[in-house]
């Protein structure tokens, strides 16, 4: 029997989802639904928008206003939706390739505007839908079908990228640290401005297999063992941080929000109603 969370927030007739066994995306999708529920958001005001890729199938399963757009462009569509109707809670679900490669320009400019959109990057370090090509978050020297001799690219730190571009909320969570991820997504949605959540997922089918990371359980254990919370980073000696990645909130500030600033212009100059 499905849980109340599923009943309340999912299109049950669209399930099961298409993701591979062991994929972390379902956990992140559940976290998103849980966050929406915890925040008591009015369902008809929630709009979930995605691009193309594994992650981008999420909106089809969620019972909100949902929009599955073109590759890389979710944030640009979302900007149109949000500016046209600022009452909507706009959440973008995207992947590492979708958001930071083909959609990289939209990411930095959406962050720069500080428009009230929450972007959740289902980051599995690989292009999954097309079968395992290296992405902008595939670590150097690791493998993909298009990096048969090892990846010579450097990987993005998506949170730092969004931070530098002007996002007012950035955080990283994982598909293992579910309660923390849910809280992060809640905080991201609550931030009045552009929020970026780097949600580390696992892809046993492609990234895992190509890089001998073991099965889904091994990959989950990696998330558990190699994540260090941002709160304790400063207290740890350098050797304890080797090969680790940092999770938690990095930035949570308040700055003028785009649609509010635009509404000020309308209020000041509008002649007719």
């Amino acid at each position: 029997m499905s849980s109340q969370l599923i009943k309340n927030n999912f299109r049950e007739d669209r399930l099961p989802h298409i993701w591979c066994p062991g994929c972390g995306h379902g956990i992140i999708m559940r976290s998103l639904a849980q966050a929406v529920e915890n925040l008591n958001l009015e369902k008809q005001k929630v709009c979930v928008i995605s691009g193309i890729g594994c992650s981008s199938r999420t909106p089809g399963y969620l019972d909100f206003n949902t929009l599955h757009t073109t590759h890389g462009r979710a944030l640009a569509f979302a900007t149109g939706v949000k500016l046209a109707n600022p009452e909507l809670k706009v959440i973008v679900v995207t992947g590492d390739g979708d958001c930071t490669a083909i959609g990289g320009n939209h990411l930095i400019h959406t962050a720069r505007r500080n428009i009230d959109i929450t972007a959740i990057v289902f980051n599995n370090n690989i292009y999954g839908m097309t079968g395992g090509q290296y992405s902008p978050t595939t670590p150097t020297n690791e493998f993909g079908t298009t990096a048969p001799f090892g990846n010579i690219d450097k990987a993005f730190d998506i949170c730092k990228l969004a931070d530098a571009a002007g996002a007012t909320y950035t955080a990283r969570g994982t598909a293992y640290h579910v309660n923390q991820l849910t809280k992060i997504i809640e905080n991201a949605i609550s931030n009045k401005g552009f929020s970026l959540v780097d949600a580390i997922s696992i892809c046993p089918t492609y990234y895992g297999r190509k890089n001998k990371k073991g099965a889904a359980v091994n990959m989950m254990n990696y998330l558990k063992d190699f994540a260090v919370d941002a709160k304790v980073v400063d207290k740890l000696p350098p050797e304890k941080l080797e090969n680790k990645f940092i999770i938690g909130e990095f930035k949570n500030t308040t700055e003028p929000e785009y649609t509010e600033e635009y509404m000020k212009i309308i209020k000041k100059y509008q002649k007719e109603r």
């Binding site: 206003n65 949902t66 462009r73 569509f77 046209a84 509008q270």
Partner: protein, 379 residues
């Protein structure tokens, strides 16, 4: 009493005035010559009527945000020129398949590539028809004057709302940048069509089901309570993706037929000097202006020249042009490209008339003299 406002106005400005009169309340775009004034006027005018303008980071984003604005319930427009029109094509196909009404203005400049950015062209006529991948419905209008730019922009919005499809307004650098006297119609003189909304918000709602007697599915906006899904994948009546070949076939044929079944409602053209004509000049956009001058001079010289102004470029005014070939056996198509539309005319008239192409791609307009010379050559 005629109390219409009379103004000296640029074509690009008339486009914005027409759009506002049609109810445009959202514009997203990216600066590009020779369409930039459209963005500038929108930035200036939209907030004054409570509308929204945004300059996006690139052409692709301009198209995407325009579609987003329309899905959120506002009549939306973007404008560009050749290079930007190329970049927008993927999302134009998205709007076609997801049936999101919007207006895309292309103020044509000489291409390909960066080409001659400040020079006129009609080189995007075939791109308007075939620019995005896959079969898709196309409506494209092309005005020949500032006043027509106003009127056809209103028409473009009406058609996009009525048929739930992106509509192209194909301007060119000459029509976009020239200034002419324009008498602005009063609001009560302008016919406006708004998208049909669903009546009942309950379980029975299917975002992509066409009700009996309707041309398109009724369109809800995000935020109104209809929890519907929109996807660029082939989709069923509910809007959910499907790999079913039957569903894909039915969907694509339906969105094509909303245009092909309603050509008479969409096609606009004007004719002059047709009755005893031995040759027809078929022209559109800026080139029509030279064609009309040439036709008048030809008539004064005793040449039996008829004139056809195609205001709707796509769908092609097939029925009427075929009809005309019963009596007119020669058609001259002057255009600022190397015969893109002439080829379409040839396809349509087959062996019923000789089609002559007069193309020019050096960034200059075609003069009446050039058309006259060609008329004398082929008559």
């Amino acid at each position: 009493m005629n109390n219409r406002q009379v103004k000296l106005m640029q074509g690009n400005e008339a486009c914005v005035e027409g759009a506002l009169a049609a109810g445009m309340r959202f514009y997203a775009g990216y600066p590009i010559t020779p369409s930039t004034e459209i963005a500038e006027f929108c930035a200036q005018r939209l907030p004054l009527v409570g509308g929204k303008f945004i300059q996006m980071e690139d052409e692709i984003a301009g198209m995407a945000a325009t579609i987003g604005g329309s899905l959120a319930g506002l009549k939306s427009m973007t404008a560009t020129s050749g290079p930007g029109f190329s970049l927008k094509q993927e999302n134009i196909g998205y709007a076609a398949l997801t049936e999101v009404p919007c207006v895309v203005v292309d103020v044509q400049r000489a291409g390909p590539s960066t080409g001659l950015p400040t020079a006129p062209s009609q080189g995007d006529i075939m791109q308007a028809k075939w620019g995005t991948h896959g079969d898709h419905p196309v409506i494209a209008l092309s005005p020949t004057s500032v006043k027509e730019t106003f009127d056809l922009t209103v028409k473009a919005f009406n058609l996009s709302e009525k048929y739930r499809t992106p509509v192209f307004l194909m301007l060119d650098e000459i029509v976009g940048h020239m200034r002419e006297k324009i008498e602005i119609p009063n609001p009560d003189e302008i016919e406006i069509f708004d998208r049909v909304k669903p009546k009942v918000c309950d379980e029975s709602y299917r975002a992509y089901r066409v009700d009996e007697g309707q041309i398109v599915p009724p369109m809800a906006s995000f935020g109104e309570g209809f929890h519907f899904h929109v996807t660029g994948l082939m989709h069923d009546d509910y809007g959910f993706p499907s790999n079913d070949s039957g569903i894909a076939d039915k969907l694509l044929r339906r969105i094509m037929s909303k245009i092909s079944d309603n050509v008479d409602d969409i096609v606009l053209f004007e004719e002059e000097f047709i009755e005893d004509a031995e040759i027809l000049i078929l022209a559109y956009g800026c080139t029509y202006r030279s064609a009309r001058s040439a036709a008048k001079q030809a008539r004064a010289a005793g040449l039996k020249v008829g004139l056809f102004k195609a205001l709707t470029i796509w769908p092609f005014p097939e029925k009427r042009v075929k009809e005309l070939t019963k009596s007119i056996k020669k058609i001259l198509v002057p255009e600022l490209n190397l015969g893109q539309y002439a080829e379409e005319v040839e396809r349509v008239v087959k062996n019923d008339a000789e089609v002559y192409s007069l193309g020019k791609v050096n960034g200059e307009s075609i003069t009446p003299e050039e058309i006259l010379a060609k008329l004398r050559e082929v008559l």
